[in-house]
């Protein structure tokens, strides 16, 4: 049985761990609030954009732009994959890496080559160890992304798609559903599948006066559409990461409390046992003296 002092030391250690997890929980909560604010601010833009693009694209021949045309033979696919830069966020990274691996395996079973563009340190470390084909990796850029960075990234994808270097671009990011639920989600970026609208809005589209022309406008908007999706993925992924870390750290704090409680019980029992043993000693000693 552990000595009293050992148990005390252990209790102290667990309490210190608890302080750390509590602090991490609060930091994650603060970060979550700011990123969630950014996500909310982006919603009007994304919503309006989807509306306009839907109006424009409905009833238009997909042949007008190569980004809309599906390639007949798909042999090389690109995956844009998001993970967190840091761990200690529960199963967040594991879930998204598993989803990516499953997807990659599915593609390889169909005889397609897979190359990866990675965002986040955890994913990069994992896939580098796996020896996967990594085109590019971006680490520690969360919180620093702006629209020009996304534009650049999008241009890279489009150039490679148009020069037949890759035949398809997909992305996997963790969608923020609620504080308790975040889910890895797969989205096809290129070729673009424009958001389809109801028949009722189609009429409205015809009324628009477009300058220079609807086709030209659509061609300009298509790369932007990819940007919007990638930007959205960045934001969602970041919010999900903080939410996941928050609940993971909350759990850890609770577990620490449980352990401290149990250890305190053990400590009290051990103390009581020691006192009893000492009493027995004294009583035994006293009896020996009176007998003599």
């Amino acid at each position: 049985m552990a000595t009293l002092r050992d148990i005390l030391r252990k209790i102290g250690a667990v309490k210190k761990t608890q302080q750390i997890t509590k602090a991490m929980n609060m930091v994650a909560a603060a970060k979550l609030r700011t990123t969630q604010g950014r996500m909310e601010n982006f919603k009007p833009y994304a919503g309006k954009f989807a509306e306009v693009l839907g109006n424009l694209a409905s009833g238009m021949d997909p042949g007008i732009h190569p980004l809309l045309v599906k390639k007949e033979e798909v042999s090389r696919v690109e995956l844009l994959h998001f993970t967190a830069d840091r761990g200690l966020c529960g199963s967040f990274n594991v879930n998204t890496v598993n989803a990516a691996q499953k997807w990659i395996k599915g593609q390889q079973d169909n005889g397609r080559d897979c190359s990866l563009t990675l965002v986040g340190k955890k994913g990069r470390d994992f896939f580098r160890k796996q020896g996967a084909n990594i085109t590019e990796s971006h680490i520690q850029i969360y919180g620093m992304i702006d629209i020009s960075f996304i534009n650049q990234m999008t241009r890279g994808f489009i150039t490679r798609y148009l020069s037949d270097e890759i035949d398809e671009v997909n992305m996997i990011y963790t969608r923020f559903i609620s504080m308790a639920k975040q889910e890895p989600t797969l989205v096809k970026l290129i070729p673009i599948e424009p958001p389809q609208k109801e028949a009722e809005t189609e009429e409205k589209a015809a009324e628009y006066l477009c300058e220079p022309s609807a086709e030209k406008l659509l061609i300009e908007l298509l790369p932007k559409h990819i940007c919007v999706q990638i930007y959205n993925a960045f934001l969602q992924n970041e919010v999900s990461e903080h939410a996941a870390r928050m609940s993971a750290m909350d759990n850890a704090t609770k577990n620490c409390s449980d352990i401290v409680e149990n250890l305190t019980l053990v400590y009290n029992k051990a103390r009581q046992a020691a006192i009893t043993a000492e009493l027995m000693d004294i009583v035994g000693g006293a009896e020996a003296i009176t007998k003599a």
Binding site: N41, P44, Y45, R155, Y208, L209, E211, L217, K224, Y231
Partner: protein
């Protein structure tokens, strides 16, 4: 006559959301003005100066690329960035222009992504500077 509702939205935030009398914006095919009762209209926006009249006074903004939609007296402008004249940091804009010009001066033989980016940066900086100079 009714008034227009102007909304200028960037990915970061809603910059302007208010009633105005008129809007003048830099479109792909040249500057265009919008008054109440305008036809449904859709166009691209290029970096330039966007002006609007609130009735109480005139406002001027620097915008970058994006697009504009006019429907039912509502003007929605979606751009990468939009700054009011009072929010622009003149010194920063000048420095940005200088940096970009320097980059352009170094190597003009190849038209790669960097040159394109630098050219775009120069255009943005020029717009910002022009907007401030007008405001002063």
């Amino acid at each position: 006559m009714g008034r227009l509702f102007l909304e200028i939205v960037t990915p970061e935030k809603i910059v302007v959301s208010q009633e105005v009398d008129s809007v003048v914006a830099p479109g792909t095919d040249g500057e265009f003005g919008v008054l109440p009762g305008h036809i449904h209209f859709l166009t691209g926006i290029v970096p330039g100066e966007l002006r609007y009249n609130t009735g109480a006074g005139k406002e001027s903004m620097a915008v970058t690329t994006g697009f504009a939609e006019v429907s039912n007296d509502k003007v929605s402008i979606l751009v990468d960035a939009a700054e009011k004249a009072s929010e622009i940091d003149a010194e920063r804009a000048r420095q940005a222009m200088e940096r970009a010009r320097e980059r352009l001066g170094k190597d003009r033989r190849t038209e790669d992504i960097d040159t394109l980016r630098a050219e775009a940066a120069v255009r943005r900086a020029i717009v910002r500077i022009r907007v401030i100079e007008k405001a002063i």
